[in-house]
Amino acid sequence: MSKVIVVTSGKGGVGKTTTSASFSTALAMKGHKVAVIDFDVGLRNLDLIMGVERRVVYDFVNVVQGEASLKQALIKDKRIEGLYILAASQTRDKDALTLEGVEKVINDLKADGFDYIICDSPAGIEKGAQLALYFADEAIVVTNPEVSSVRDSDRILGILQAKSRRAEMGEDPVVEHLVLTRYNPTRVTAGEMLSKDDVVDLLSIKLLGVVPESQEVLNASNSGEPVVLNHDSDAAQAYVDIVERFLGADKEHRFLTEEKKGWLNKLFGKK
């Protein structure tokens, strides 16, 4: 059975694309067949983060509009077996995607034997974001420990519960997971940042994982490799944990407290 998972947030720039890239990559590394779709039509970022920008010939809009086949547009990842990317179009406007068109692409992917279809949502709570979440079975709500991000996450949760296909059809609700990212334990300890418990309390949703603020995320995007492939970094380990928990493993949450650095490490600024 294939599962459709939307990565969504309401607020922009909180880490949806970073999360989509690493989550999909780690899922494929576990042996699943995964397609990750960029719903951010007009902006197109996922291909850059995944490092496949030069291999985009046809995109999601081409497929939806019948100008290319799914086979032609799916980009096979060269690092990880079973990982495929469907890029967004950079030139079309947001209305190029239709509900019927998106449904057909998702159904074709299911028929092709994909285990997971990951939808990287655009920011906002309007049409583009609603289209990205419409067919979802599960949702990863990406939130930063910050007031406006928490508020927008709450609004997107409301939309998941009211306007997704599952809600409209009266089926079981979309399963919601919280990924709290750009977490800074030092500031949480200092009382300057909402803690994971605060955010879980406010949103009343199950915590899938916490990703610490990490310089490796920028390094990863510079080099076009999902951060999860940089095994030494905290962010990578956090994303691996997230996928393992998603697949049912019982793993304790990590990276919640300030790392105690030895004076040598401090001196040489080793991360």
């Binding site: 910050e146 007031v147 928490v150 508020r151 709450d154 609004r155 409301g158 009211a162 949480v188 200092a190 009382g191 300057e192 940042m193 909402l194 803690s195 605060d198 309390d201 406010l202």
Partner: protein, 86 residues
Amino acid sequence: MALLDYLLGQRKKKSAHLAKDRLQILLAHERTEAKAPDYLPKMRDEILQVIAKYVDIDQEQLKISIDEENGFEVLELNLVLPDEKR
């Protein structure tokens, strides 16, 4: 230094607390608003039109909401009337 850190820590502790308190109120409010029936804005406009026939009111002053209290649905209208001076 430790004392200074301690004092600063005490003061800073407030900002995350403040964030949580503010969000708790805001989210509760926005959740009831999001659940409100679709006809509410239109009904609000029509009620405003009727009131405006009799009183010179500020459109923004009418607050209307549907809440649940003790298992009953309550339609709540709240309007501040202007001073007579106008």
